[in-house]
Symmetry: C2
DNA sequence: ATAAACTTTCAAAAAGTTTTGAAAGTTTAA
DNA sequence: TTAAACTTTCAAAACTTTTTGAAAGTTTAT
């Protein structure tokens, strides 16, 4: 397999993976393209490489910036904006975990707290089952939340730091 | 808030969460319904409670069985099939992690192995960036894979067992 | 102030996904 | 074997999400 074909395949794979995990396919593809490109690209180049429209490229790049995965670069003497992706995969994973925690885990935790407060007849199996499920899910989500929090600070954490080293 | 309303809200929340994570909304909703229902339900009851069609209910229940989240129960002397969801949230999480690992992580690892083999000019920045990204992503995915594997066996593992207890 | 270079917006269209429901299939009891 | 009870299938319809592209907006240089 040659480089251009391999790039194509990676972009396709990354896009598919993204969409399976609730990330827009094009966004994952643009990210993949930037990941295998040594230097920053313009909107124009992204449009060209992936055959997507200007509007789509622009929106997707803005989203990627919102996720903290891509940065805008300005070059002295040029009007065009260049887009560059951080290539450190550990930073990428942290960034994604951080965003999803904020965007998805937090709202669910809020709803669960509310649902746990619902009062009912302690002898009603319906109520008992409901209440137990809510309590259990809440507990586990809170744990996941705390765990993520700890892991996201792994740089500074002796404990997780040493655990991750085990997997290097 | 009263129980029926609370159930409704939970079903809605769980469905939304599911779709944000690449799981079909209805599937997540049916699962949520079964999670807050003490006993097994028939296809008919699921259709009724969620106002969905027979075909949809049937397919969704089959999918849930495929994910290992729901079991079919047969009652002596009855023709109908009953569906019951395991309510142990830790089992649920493990099951989902296990399935997604198999369905998504494994194929990506396979593709990455292939892309890492691609040969090229070691002085070409294009090639260098591509190769480094592939190697890094592969490393991290393999780690995630091994970590999941370890965690999925936590029951039998002294090490992770004791780590999880910290978060109880 | 003007025009060129570039970015952003958004309504409409296309693409993709999910749902429906009627028909076909299967199993069981008598 | 037949009919009733139940389950499964799948093409078409409904719905959701994504993409397009032309128009509007912004910035910069002269």
């Amino acid at each position: 397999m040659q480089l251009p074909e391999a790039k194509q395949k990676f972009i396709e794979t990354w896009g598919k993976l993204g969409s399976e995990w609730g990330i827009n396919r094009t966004m994952a593809q643009v990210h993949a393209l930037l990941l295998v490109t040594p230097d920053a690209l313009t909107t124009e180049q992204v449009m060209e490489e992936l055959s997507i429209s200007r509007g789509n490229a622009n929106m997707t790049l803005r989203d990627l910036i919102g996720w903290g995965l891509v940065e805008k670069q300005l070059r002295p003497g040029e009007r065009k904006e260049y887009f560059y992706a951080d290539k450190d995969i550990w930073n990428i994973a942290r960034q994604v975990a951080k965003e999803r925690r904020k965007r998805e885990l937090e709202p669910v935790l809020k709803t669960l707290e509310e649902l746990i407060q619902v009062k009912g007849d302690k002898n009603d199996p319906e109520f008992k089952t409901f209440h137990k499920s809510m309590t259990d899910i809440n507990k586990m989500s809170k744990n996941a939340d705390r765990m993520l929090d700890t892991m996201l600070q792994a740089d500074e954490s002796w404990f997780w730091g040493s655990i991750f080293k085990m997997f290097k």
